[in-house]
């Protein structure tokens, strides 16, 4: 079924098609429409889910954990301050190995109070052990919910799908809503092998000393790494079923590119016509859109960026005191590669500052002009 829908509703449809069984959420701009539509879907019976109205995002994640531990496929959504409020429970969901799927609308952190887009909210959660998928179209948002459940439930690691506030959450565009039958064939029922079961009593999360805590952490890392091949595998299966492929990254005109722009989300989308324009001007430029940020696709980036003349990374986030997060991590992945290319790190678009084509082009041109970067952070467009 073809529809024109907003990014927020694409999350709701993804949860509906994935047959989410429990939804516990708290409203926050710009996520509210996700939960409003899910609530309507529960009310009219199209979604057979338990809808729990909680009093805060911390409780939303706590309730989600209880539901997932009981064996229910669980979905929630939040943004910025709400995501931050859930922080300790995000760690808990990972440690408890609960494959919850959550939509996070990337909104800049306050103060000052804001509702516009920035990725720092989800970047600040990159250490929690959640899979992170950075989306760049309405269709991708819907499809990613379904794929996320398929990956998360095989490795018992929670997953968040993130999307730019307003630029994606409140933008309406063409979206194909897959058939429920096909989604059911792609995504089987959730069977939690470790669920709460009065027939098999157990105690969860108890005090664990230094002699065994370490091994449990090792298991988490070992399993989140499995998401790397799993995204490619489930992505191919998705393509066979629905005609669209979603892997760890997306490349555009990369093959013979000397200068590569690495970025994510909506900036990566606007970058495509910029690459086209610069190619028609004779420049050998290409694009890598990082879609899966956790686990970080280091090996793939090493393969694709080795041998390039120059690389620039554009971050719509900042880890204060260091640099943009994607820049730091792409650099780290390439560090041990002999003859690695010099890398420029740009910051743009914080707090929802628009990033039009000419700004992206300007960043690529600056990189092309310089032999090597002189700063770890290059701020674009600061009004001085």
């Amino acid at each position: 079924m073809q529809k024109v829908m907003m990014g927020n509703h694409a999350l709701s449809w993804g949860a509906l098609l994935s047959r989410a069984e429990v939804i516990a959420a708290y409203p926050i701009t710009p996520q509210t429409e996700v939960v409003e539509l899910l609530s309507n879907m529960c009310a009219d019976g199209s979604l057979k889910a338990e809808f729990i109205k909680v009093e805060s995002e911390h409780s939303a994640m706590a309730a989600s954990m209880g539901a997932s531990a009981a064996g229910a496929r669980t979905f929630t959504a939040t943004s910025a301050q709400g995501l931050a409020l859930m922080h300790e429970v995000l760690h808990w969901a990972t440690g408890a190995r609960l494959p919850i799927v959550m939509g996070n609308i990337n909104r800049a952190m306050a103060p000052p109070w804001t509702i516009w887009t920035e990725q720092t909210d989800s970047i600040a959660q990159r250490d929690t052990g959640w899979i992170q998928i950075y989306t760049s179209s309405i269709q991708e948002i819907l499809d990613s919910v379904i794929q996320a459940y398929k990956v998360a439930e095989q490795i018992y690691i929670p997953a968040m799908i993130v999307l730019d506030s307003f630029v994606l959450s409140h933008t309406n565009e063409n979206c194909e809503v897959p058939d429920q039958d096909k989604v059911d064939a792609y995504l089987p029922r959730f069977e939690n092998a470790y669920k709460l079961d009065t027939e098999k009593p157990a105690a969860f999360g108890g005090l664990t000393g230094p002699d065994w805590y370490y091994e449990l952490r090792y298991k988490i890392e070992r399993d989140i790494q499995k998401a790397l091949p799993l995204f490619e595998e489930t992505g191919k299966e998705f393509e066979e079923m629905f005609g669209r492929y979603y892997g760890l990254i997306e490349t555009y005109k990369l093959d013979d590119a000397d200068v590569v722009l690495v970025t994510s989300a909506s900036i990566a989308s606007t970058a495509r016509p910029v690459i086209d324009q610069m190619r028609s001007e004779g420049h050998k430029v290409g694009l890598i859109r990082i879609r899966v940020f956790r686990p970080f696709p280091s090996e793939l980036l090493r393969k694709l960026l080795s041998g390039r003349k120059k690389v620039l990374v554009v971050d719509r986030n900042i880890s204060f005191g260091m640099s943009g997060a994607f820049y730091a991590e792409v650099k780290a992945a390439l560090y041990n590669v002999k003859g690695r290319p010099p890398m420029w790190g740009y910051i743009a678009g914080l707090g929802g500052r628009d990033v039009p084509m000419d700004v992206i082009k300007g960043m690529i041109e600056q990189t092309m002009k310089e032999d090597h970067p002189t700063q770890d952070i290059i701020w674009i467009g600061v009004k001085r």
Binding site: V4, I115, L168, T270, V355
Partner: protein
């Protein structure tokens, strides 16, 4: 690719208008992207919304700075703000007004078309007397004047997206389509 900007006041259905156009164009098999000026909203304040239309998938996701055409749902905005900011020369400005196109000499670099969408909306009792909802009518006019979208698709989209008075809204769109015309000299 076409970039169209809508001007109205909060509560007049400007944002819905931009979405109805998108839905109509999508029904005709094209790609669309539509979004409001992002910010805090309240009734009566100027509202801006945007729709991109293309025959290819649309990747650009920044704001629209140089629209090709405008729809102005509330004529009082013309004195209040510069509705033509960034508008490409020769673009259409479709204004909801009882005046004539010649009454807008300040828009000489553009193509002006008028439709009395307010009267049409009042006639079909869409919205209230104080705050008629003019979006269905102005979209019907848009279809006729620009030819960028067919009236059948507009009627279907209006029907789908009208929360109430679906038939009245469709009639308003059709009536505006029937009466709208561009001035001969432009």
């Amino acid at each position: 690719m076409l970039e169209i900007r809508f001007h109205g006041r909060g509560g007049q259905g400007t944002v819905v208008a931009s979405k109805v156009l998108a839905v109509a164009v999508a029904k005709e098999g094209r790609y669309v992207q539509t979004f409001p000026e992002y910010g805090v909203e309240r009734r009566g304040a100027p509202v801006v919304a945007f729709t991109r239309i293309d025959t290819e998938p649309i990747y650009i996701r920044s704001k629209i700075y140089e629209p090709d055409h405008l729809l102005v749902l509330d004529p009082t905005l013309i004195a209040a703000i510069d509705v033509t900011e960034g508008l490409k020369p020769g673009g259409w400005i479709i204004i909801n007004t009882e005046k004539k196109a010649a009454d807008f000499p300040q828009f000489k670099d553009f193509k002006v078309a008028i439709v009395d969408a307010t009267s049409i909306a009042l006639k079909h009792r869409i919205g209230s007397k104080a705050a008629p909802i003019v979006n269905s009518a102005i979209l019907g006019a848009f279809a006729k004047i620009t030819g960028f979208v067919g009236i059948d698709a507009v009627r279907e989209a209006v029907h789908e997206l009208s929360p109430v008075k679906k038939d009245e809204n469709v009639k308003a769109a059709q009536e505006a389509y029937d009466v709208a015309k561009a001035p001969e000299e432009k």
